[in-house]
Symmetry: C2
Subunit: 364 residues, 2 copies
């Protein structure tokens, strides 16, 4: 309010006036609020209880760190906190984004990327995490849809007014987000158009609201990469899903993983995402699934004797010992255990490998 008044009176700093330009003369506050009321949106300001002060704090810090210079930083890249957020949806903003992760990526995504994004969205939702994204084509909407499919709230941070569906093809998804306990969020008032520079400005809100950003697919030199670097600059986790090195849509992901200054971590599952952004001790991922093998428990001698066993014709323990490079007594000592484990067979004249399970007939 004070800022608006300063602008109207012409007492705002020269640099601010230069940026705001001719718009200083326009004031649409009342019209904005009326329009918001019609579409069921509300204006959330820092004084409100639901203001997500904690997640946005790094933006405030970044703004102070960048301050003091003569010229105001480029608006499209400056890390400044939003002065207010327009919100559509019943849930409280702060509670919804408390445990949230951004899932972002290419608009021109591949079916691989969309599959992974939808899967991440669903599994993060099932684990009680809110997926925040930009509502765009490709990875963004796949992540939102995944969360919706899991019946979980999801947040779309838009580069236009929360009453506008951009892209128009996603209007049904946006309605489902609002109906499903999720939120549409924007810095711009209802009715605002999705100008290109607004996407860059908007991206810092996606990074700011969440604990970490997962990049699913990104071309070289893409907006998703920029969002990830911005998240890293705010001290948020940058998590990257790799893809085929033959896919142009994963080049940006692999670049992020090769860069050292973003601290980007490779993730392959929602469990690994939650482990990275979750609270220590409560959100640990299981290690990747590993096939169990009856060979696992074997000692060195037993494994070597087993490896020395022929497939068909049985041979003597002495011969096995010679091949395995151990004492015949040692071989005789481990063979009974291998037989009990159904790994070797006594043919009557010698030892051989037992047939694999399935092809085996049990003795009556």
């Amino acid at each position: 309010m004070a800022a608006v008044q300063a602008l109207r009176r012409g007492t705002a700093p020269e640099a601010v006036r230069a940026l705001v330009g001719v718009r200083a003369a326009e004031d649409a506050s009342l019209a904005d609020l009326r329009r918001a009321e019609r579409c069921g949106a509300r204006l959330v300001v820092p004084e409100d209880e639901e203001w997500p002060a904690l997640p946005l704090h790094p933006l405030t810090l970044a703004a102070y760190a960048g301050g003091g210079s003569e010229r105001l930083p480029d608006r499209t890249t400056a890390l400044v906190p939003p002065v207010a957020l327009w919100v559509r949806g019943d849930a409280a903003l702060d509670a919804t984004v408390d445990r949230s992760v951004a899932v972002v990526g290419a608009r021109a995504s591949t079916s691989y990327g969309e599959h992974v994004a939808a899967d991440l969205g669903a599994q993060l939702g099932e684990r009680g995490w809110t997926v925040v994204s930009g509502g765009a084509y490709g990875i963004d909407v796949a992540a939102h849809r995944g969360a919706l499919a899991a019946g979980a709230p999801t947040v779309a941070v838009l580069a236009c007014g929360v009453d506008r569906a951009y892209p128009a093809a996603h209007s049904a998804v946006f309605e489902r987000i609002v109906d499903g306990g999720g939120l549409l969020v924007s810095e711009w008032p209802p009715g605002a158009a999705p100008y290109r520079h607004r996407f860059l400005v908007r991206n810092r809100i996606i990074a700011g609201l969440t604990r970490g950003t997962v990049v699913v697919e990104a071309a070289a030199r893409s907006g998703a990469q920029a969002t990830a670097r911005r998240a890293a600059g705010l001290g948020k986790q940058v998590l990257v899903v790799p893809g085929p090195v033959t896919s142009a849509m994963s080049v940006g992901c692999h670049e992020l993983l090769r860069e050292e200054d973003t601290g980007a971590r490779l993730v392959t599952s929602a469990a690994q995402v939650v482990e990275a952004v979750g609270d220590l001790g409560t959100d640990l991922a299981d290690p990747a699934e590993r096939p169990a093998s009856p060979r696992d428990g074997l000692g060195d001698f037993a494994r070597r004797v087993l490896d020395a066993c022929p497939v068909r014709v049985g041979v003597s323990a002495e011969r096995l010992a010679a091949v395995a490079g151990c004492d015949p007594l040692e071989a005789m000592r481990v063979l009974p255990a291998l037989e009990v484990a159904e790994l070797v067979q006594w043919t009557g004249t010698g030892w051989r490998l037992a047939p694999p399970p399935g092809t085996r007939r049990r003795a009556p």
Copy 2:
């Protein structure tokens, strides 16, 4: 020789005798050498000029670091230098592996992995690097074939005698390796069978001979992972090609990239491999290809004015300035430059975006 004599006389340490077992009584040195002569193989020992002493030095260091304990370490995992290497092929061993990289991976590889391995093999070969692998199904043979296709020497380190083709299906590839200036290398004498434990023992030679190991595809808990960890243990570079997170054959690769102690680096091209293992300054990879855009050179104001331009109906500079948030004079100052760059058009009544190149008709 001294070791063989000590074993025959029974004066070798107890632990060594326990490991060698009944084979202490067998001596096939002369038969081995005769068999080697028949298949055109030679025995290379540390005293030979072509012994790759420098690459193998970390194995010697590791053996000393692990020494002094009562019990000899498990043979299948111990990092000890080879006592000698059986070699088939005309090239000198040390010169061939001086600039070499191991390319290893799953036997049950996917077509993606084979494509990437063949491509790496060919491009490393073209850059003058020798591809070292194990001659196995899947990634190994794809890498060898890629190098052969580029007319470059490649080295297969076998877990059996250099006169045996294992797997038999690769006998033609092995002959092409020998004929193409490459080498077949083994720790075991001609005629030796490919026992399972020999593959694990062999893997340390692959890691030892090369400057770094590239893992192309690896299942969880796989031999390729073990080779990579072994390479890391020897202070060699571990380089990993990522893949789709939906592929079981890339799980091991992604695990390696998530582990912090191997120092594994993600690579997507031969250029990045060479950069990682090559000599500083001479082997730098180009950055990933980025599409150039006429927007690149634009200043902040110009970009915002451009973004404010409508697609069809032209609007005034004042209107553009209002949308872009700058002074109308500022907008008028940048519009001519945007027009020269063919980014905007004057319709006669206002400014709009220029149609993209290709759809554009030039003025006569």
